[in-house]
Symmetry: C2
Amino acid sequence: MARTKRSGRRSGNPDTRAEILAAARSLFAAEGYGSISMRRIAAEAGVDPSLIHHYFGSKDDLFMAAIEIPFDPAPEVASVLEGGEIEGAGGRLMHAFVAIWDGPHQDKLLAMVRTSLSKPAMAFVLRNLFEHRIVKTIEATLGDKVDHIPVRAGFVGSQIFGLVVTRYILKLEPVASLGAEELAVTIGPTIDRYLTMPVEHLTAE
Amino acid sequence: MARTKRSGRRSGNPDTRAEILAAARSLFAAEGYGSISMRRIAAEAGVDPSLIHHYFGSKDDLFMAAIEIPFDPAPEVASVLEGGEIEGAGGRLMHAFVAIWDGPHQDKLLAMVRTSLSKPAMAFVLRNLFEHRIVKTIEATLGDKVDHIPVRAGFVGSQIFGLVVTRYILKLEPVASLGAEELAVTIGPTIDRYLTMPVEHLTAE
């Protein structure tokens, strides 16, 4: 048995996966997603870096597994954004938002948001999910039409996270009861504007 | 009966104030602010309703004391909104927002927001603070120029709560580091639009 204490981890035994996840969680929480390399996680877990690729694939995939996100919103966001015009992207995003949040994953999503907002040490979960999944997805789909996407995404995020809070946590009416099309008409234009307003003066680069 | 250990509550002894606060907190949490009368709180606390007025003044004042809000934002919101035009109200609100949130009460405000967002039973704190302090303040100051304020306030709230989350909890850049005037120019127009867009079709009344 392997775990007296840790012999055997280097072969592909079942504990290895858990060791890698525990190391990743602890490092992501302490220092954030961006500054932690796969090599660093491997060292912390005491395994060869190739095993991380074997078990989890990419660093993004490892992150998603480590934070136990109920599902990856990136493909839905991508399918709603790709191929369309900027004008109306906010409305399409609202339809995707309602499809995701009013769907079967609502409880798990809400639990993840509550946890991430309630403890400073857990903020990295939502922040990294947003920066490394959502922002990258927007860049991949709208990057040829929209500049400064990371900057704009912060404003889009400020509206989307606020919608989660008012609609699903505080349950403020009428926002809590509106349908997708009503949110598309009211909040969609806000997102369109954040995707098109001048932001050059806000970027440090 | 029963309450032998609590003799003397009806006179103004120091426990009375704590009894009233405990009763108010428990009733507000269980049933929300709107449906709980001063009489009901008095009955729960086992005191005469006049004592509540004696110790706390109005129901609003009792609510603020019960939820231990660090300070009442309503006067600041009122002073920023009154006397001005609708056009630009969002920008003025952003200046007030930064003055309040970047000020000495930030830690206490953040603790209150975290608590209210982390547990379903605590959502009433932010919801009632918003509905019964902020919305009423907007009605008192803009009510002669803007219709359907409770409806519009839900959208304004979705942007403001989201700004709190992205700027102070998730600390997404550049939103986390922008100054008041930059937020006034970027997010101000969103709020102006929520105060002026057509909302008749969203109201049940």
